[in-house]
């Protein structure tokens, strides 16, 4: 009998890849259904919040594909998200509005008004191209240098967006994107993104990237090219973030380059750390936990409940929380575990010793029975 279990890495059975991909997608679907049920019960008041949550979760999943598989920190999610959002805006704003907002756009693009699905693909594709161009150069770097150059990517992309007036309206707010990102689209995309990320993690591409992450020299000796091994997760990171950006554009409908910079990067990274950088499911868990916390603390910040308004208290709690988390549980909520469909009695790797002891877990199960 096949059941859904929280297990580290791939299970040791046939169909493991399908088990992990379907498992994580099922988890995302359950979250999506829960959101819809909640909105049904509570009325539509929180729809905006939950749409933002869904899109943010997609971003965190995108970042996980890169950070989890390569072990390299990136501060670039907002760069790819911005590219995705602007690319989607350019193809999706109706021609009448476009003549007003982006009068200097090339004629070919002037009359274009694509629906959401192709706009999302174009947003993701544009971001993936940016990832390819930067990745070919940057994927040679690891560690601190890679972290700092990813900040460079963020700054460079942001300045390019600010200066490409004909396509982006420069630093001014761009508006007129149709508000077509609804619950089914956002949470459907989240499920698909989780599936893609899990597929990457469980596939040979993910395994190669993690081999390079754990021991670059050994992996290279085994014939793996570290640059390409890191490049594939980076492309996936760019694509998923770009798709999230396109959705974001169709959710907000108006935005400016300021919407995609350092301040917006912070929660994404914190969510990833909370859930566990090595887990796709953890990315979603982290997004849920931080969103819940920020909602809980919002009344304090706004000054409800008889407490005077305390601006900055949310940021303070997140900053301190991040330090505490890194100190005492740097593997996050899930470590490297994923939701997986496995035979009920399949032996599973034991997380406590790096995932090599199926035997121990089996014995433990016997005791439980």
């Amino acid at each position: 009998m096949i059941v859904l279990r929280w297990v580290v890495d791939r299970g040791l059975h046939r169909g493991a890849l399908a088990g992990i991909v379907l498992g994580d997608m099922t988890f995302a679907s359950i979250v999506g259904v829960a959101v819809v049920v909640y909105l049904g019960l509570a009325g539509g008041a929180d729809t905006d919040l939950l749409l933002s949550f869904g899109i943010t979760a997609i971003l965190v999943v995108g970042l996980q594909t890169f950070v989890g598989n390569t072990g390299v920190v990136s501060f670039a999610p907002m760069a790819f998200m911005g590219v995705g959002a602007y690319a989607a805006a350019v193809v999706a704003i109706p021609p009448a509005t476009k003549a007003l907002v982006l009068p200097d756009l090339p004629v070919v693009l002037q009359d274009l008004a694509l629906p959401l699905a192709p706009a999302m693909l174009i947003g993701g594709g544009a971001a993936a191209i940016v990832a390819l161009l930067t990745g070919l150069v940057l994927m040679r770097l690891t560690g601190i240098a890679a972290g700092i150059t990813s900040l460079g990517v963020l700054v460079i992309v942001n300045e390019l967006i600010r200066n490409a007036d004909a396509f982006t309206r420069g630093s001014r707010t761009i508006f007129g994107v149709p508000a077509s990102a609804d619950l089914p689209w956002v949470f459907g995309t989240l499920v698909a993104a989780m599936g893609l990320a899990a597929l990457l993690k469980a596939s040979s591409y993910g395994l190669r990237a993690r081999a390079v992450r754990d021991d670059e020299l050994a992996a290279t000796t085994a014939g793996i090219n570290p640059l390409t091994a890191r490049l594939w997760p980076y492309l996936m990171f760019g694509f998923i973030s770009g798709v999230a950006g396109a959705l974001w554009a169709h959710h907000l409908t108006a935005f400016s380059p300021n919407s995609f910079f350092v301040a917006q990067t912070i929660p994404i990274i914190v969510m990833l750390v909370i859930g566990g950088t090595n887990s796709v499911a953890g990315a979603l868990v982290g997004a849920i936990l931080l969103t819940l916390w920020l909602e809980l603390i919002r009344p304090i910040e706004a000054g409800a409940l008889g407490i005077p308004a305390l601006n900055g208290i949310a940021l303070l709690s997140v900053g301190v929380g991040l330090i505490v988390l890194l100190r005492w549980r740097s593997s996050g909520a899930l470590g490297a575990k994923e939701a997986q469909f496995l035979p009920r009695h399949a032996s599973v790797p034991d997380p406590s010793d790096g995932g090599h002891s199926g035997q121990l877990a089996k014995e433990e199960e016997k005791v439980n029975e």
């Binding site: 601190i144 240098a145 900040l151 460079g152 990517v153 949310a314 303070l316």
Partner: protein
Amino acid sequence: MTNFVQFVLDALSVGSTYAMLALGLTLLFGVMGLVNFAYGALIIWCGYVVVVLAPLNLPFALVAVLVIAAATALSLLVGQFAFRPFKSAPPLTLMLTSFGVAMALQALAILLFGQATRVVPMPAVLGTVWHLGEVRLSVLQVVTIVAGAAVLAGLYGLLQRTTIGLQIRAVAEDAEIASQMGVRADRVLMWAFAASGVIAGIVALLWLAKTGTVSPGAFLAPTFKAFIAIVLGGLGSIRGAVVGGLVLGLFEASLATYLPDSMLSYQQAIAFGLVIAVLLVRPSGIAGRLVEVSK
């Protein structure tokens, strides 16, 4: 010729500021592998100290001393409580931790002083401009260059001429062996944080004299400049920090002089582009050692 002299002076004063920023940062990277996002937050906090002291009308020399003392205390505080527990953590965990510290310090500034931009009063004499022939030279520029040289000399003296400096260098070289030789790593760490704080205080005064204002979000600019400088020059080496800072100053001055106006808005992008280009040719920076520094 006058143009050239002017150019060198401008480059040198900006470069000195960046070199000082980089020195404070590289010291911490050397002893514990920390790339400190919160470094810029020390600088904005110095700005708020000046704002708070302003109504007292103290002589500026006293204000300067108090600012440097405050920066040192704050640096020691975050070193002790936020960073010391992570001393054996991988560099990326440390980097994320410093991200958390930067957020916390920024949030505290918002809580206490609000989001609004505050004016930081600085002595008017710093803004005085001398005209030597056709060359313009401000007091602030001279002070910056002198302070840069003094900080470098002081740090060099500390590292090369004192026991604690020897210990700092030993820990930077190999923390484990140093501790087996009887070096108390925790104490050395705190000395490094103190030195880093003193430098942050000095550079904060110069930085604030130039910007004239402070706001909770303003910590990013100095942090970015320092990051660029240390990566350019080579992580973890004093020489690298100085070279990186001066090169960045030279680079920015030449952009300001020779770049057409239409390209000026790309300055930051071009600076980061330079970093990436340098890293590709020399992964350990312009003046860096050729071995992998990061652990």
